[in-house]
């Protein structure tokens, strides 16, 4: 009798506690749809943000992640994957979502630095000791050098690779569009296989042992070294390369329907905080806040907005649309 009374009291107390916390603190779930190489970055960042948000509001926020090729992910969001946030490889893919009315126009001006809280670039991953002496883009077209890069039709990273090579040739003394096209054509002749995504290419280079050099996102190259052994590969940062600005944005339509706009915006702003920037730096992204120290080598950057390209819309049309320069110069190696 006494015992059962005690139990009842405890149950009541537990119930009261449970309801009171339920009233005070909400459970929020966000879905961050991202591209392939950011898995490790966001796994750590999500934990950091959840702790920050708990401290600030008392709410428990769980951020779910989905990763894949940037273009494919954008397509999934267009088809109804309910992302509160996208963090993709290039602005072109976010533009595609905005075109369908899911994001308000002018999204890229909502956050500092073109809505890119971190930047990255394209570097070379080579076999240990760099036996083929690959130092700069010019070395990639030498005969007998086998280059691994994914297919720019399907992979965001591969488009950056392609454009980086193009920019290099374009900016050489006496460089022009025809010279750049010729250079990239020569480079593609050295590519034995085009995988569909960045991780696929990394696996081809690392696991299957194909190729002398992998063109990779800077963070992917360092991650591959850390995961698979510094005794097998070296990262070569070329003295000049392209500046990649992977943009982030709230999917307005979805966030408003979910009622998650506040926390979604806070999430993206937190990427710009010192803590967020440090997490990015730890995962070998280049923080936009120059006060945050980085281990990455200085590079002379070309930009997608330079006159060589004229922005993503134009670059996409010129180079990667059907019949564009890529189609003109790429013939699979037989």
């Amino acid at each position: 009798m006494k015992l059962s009374k005690l139990t009842t009291a405890f149950t009541a107390l537990a119930l009261a506690l449970a309801t009171s916390t339920a009233v005070l603190a909400a459970n929020v779930t966000l879905l961050n749809v991202s591209y392939d190489p950011t898995r490790e970055l966001y796994t750590e960042f999500n934990k950091s943000f959840a702790a920050y948000w708990k401290g600030k509001t008392g709410d428990t926020v769980t951020v779910k992640q989905s990763h894949g090729g940037s273009g494919k992910q954008a397509r999934a969001v267009i088809d109804g994957l309910e992302a509160d946030i996208v963090t993709l490889a290039l602005a072109y893919d976010v533009d595609a979502i905005a075109e369908k009315g899911l994001i308000k126009p002018g999204w890229q001006k909502e956050l500092p630095h073109n809505s890119a809280p971190y930047t990255s670039t394209i570097v070379f991953l080579v076999r240990k000791g760099n036996p083929k002496k690959i130092k700069n883009w010019g070395d990639l077209i030498k005969p007998g050098v086998s280059v691994i890069t994914p297919n720019p039709k399907t992979s965001g990273g591969a488009r950056w690779n392609y454009l980086a090579a193009w920019a290099f040739a374009f900016h050489q003394p006496g460089g022009n569009e025809a010279k750049a096209k010729e250079f990239v054509a020569k480079l593609l002749k050295n590519v034995p296989v085009l995988d569909s995504g960045a991780r696929g290419s990394t696996n081809t280079f690392v696991q299957r042992g194909m190729g002398d050099v992998l063109l990779a996102w800077e963070n992917e190259a360092f991650l591959a070294i850390n995961e698979l052994g510094p005794d097998k590969f070296d990262v070569i940062t070329p003295p000049e390369s392209i500046l990649a600005e992977p943009p982030v944005t709230v999917i307005d339509k979805v966030a408003d329907r979910h009622g998650t706009r506040n926390v979604a915006e806070a999430y993206l702003n937190y990427l710009y905080s010192d803590e967020g920037q440090k997490v990015a730096a730890r995962h070998y992204y280049r923080p936009v806040n120059t006060r945050i120290p980085t281990r990455l080598a200085k590079v002379k950057f070309y930009r997608i907005d330079d006159k060589a390209f004229g922005g993503w819309q134009k670059a996409q049309k010129t180079h990667f649309a059907d019949g564009g320069t890529f189609d003109q110069i790429y013939a699979p190696v037989k």
């Binding site: 898995r39 779910k64 992640q65 989905s66 894949g68 088809d79 109804g80 994957l81 309910e82 696996n203």
Partner: protein, 285 residues
């Protein structure tokens, strides 16, 4: 008479010189070892490369557990539905004549001839936000694609021929005399089904269900298209294996893959047993 002629044919076939027979058997065995046993061994050796503790740790990871749960749910919904559909369709086709019968047989085979990617894509085209009824679904807060219902739909589509395909030839071979006899003796339709038809096709059903289940748990292409790849929510076991592999988590990837390999082995065993029983049943008739 018939047995006699069968025997002569068998005898003639065995008059081939011994070395030819041995060469054929050797080629078949080498082929089997190279393409089936070697990869299977590779999966298990990679999975246990770092020991049993690491293997079990990899399986206990929350995202892995959630993918196993999703795969089990998918199979638990898909297999009974396709069992019901398969038995109904096979019964209709084998025991009755009706207009459009050949069309129905062709349609049942459709998922076999369509690429799994297309099987997934049709659901995105119907239920996706840019699709026919996507906007209506969104207004009513119903999620089909990039959620569990889409995964189940795509799986039902790719697995629905298995049970029917297995039962149709079996039931056709058995003919309808026994059912007719039961009806003449005064049994109702349901009694006939449960007491006469069902015992006759029992092992055929088990065979079909096993194959259907294996495919439901192992399907990659169609499910990949409709999944949305949300970690801990919409990744099935095969999709999770790919993710782990892409994250350089090779031991975990092979550990999870070994679950599918176990499933394949168990399927194979039950399948062989069921096949044997089906043959027996046909011979008894």
């Amino acid at each position: 008479m018939q047995n006699n002629s069968n025997a002569t044919i068998t005898d003639r076939a065995q008059t081939e010189p011994a070395f030819v027979r041995r060469a054929l058997v050797t080629i078949a065995l080498i082929f089997l070892a190279l393409f089936l046993l070697l990869p299977l061994a590779a999966v298990f050796s990679q999975a246990f490369e770092k020991g049993l503790v690491v293997y079990l740790e990899a399986l206990k990871e929350p995202d892995t557990l959630s993918s196993i749960k999703l795969t089990l749910i998918t199979a638990a919904v898909t297999v009974p539905l396709n069992l019901f559909f398969g038995v109904t369709a096979a019964w209709a086709i084998a025991k009755f004549t009706f207009p459009g019968k050949n069309l129905l047989i062709t349609l049942i085979d459709l998922p076999f001839s369509v690429s799994p990617v297309i099987s997934g894509l049709i659901y995105v085209l119907i239920f996706g936000l840019q699709g026919w009824i996507g906007p209506w679904l969104q207004d009513h807060d119903i999620r089909i694609v990039f959620a569990v219902p889409g995964i189940i739909l795509a799986t039902i589509f790719v697995t629905f021929p298995f049970v029917a395909r297995e039962l149709i030839p079996l039931m056709e071979a058995q003919g309808k005399e026994e059912e007719e006899a039961a009806l003449v003796l005064g049994a109702t339709g349901l009694q006939t089904f449960f007491r006469v038809t069902l015992p006759n096709i029992k092992w055929g059903i088990i065979y079909g269900v096993i194959l259907c289940n294996a495919r439901a748990m192992g399907e990659f292409g169609a499910v990949s298209v409709v999944s949305g790849h949300i970690r801990g929510m919409t990744n099935t076991v095969p999709l999770h294996v790919e993710i782990l592999y892409n994250e350089y988590n090779y031991t975990a990837a092979f550990a999870v893959a070994s679950l599918l390999a176990f499933l394949a082995l168990i399927t194979l065993m039950i399948k062989t047993f069921a096949e044997w029983k089906v043959r027996q049943q046909l011979e008894n008739n």
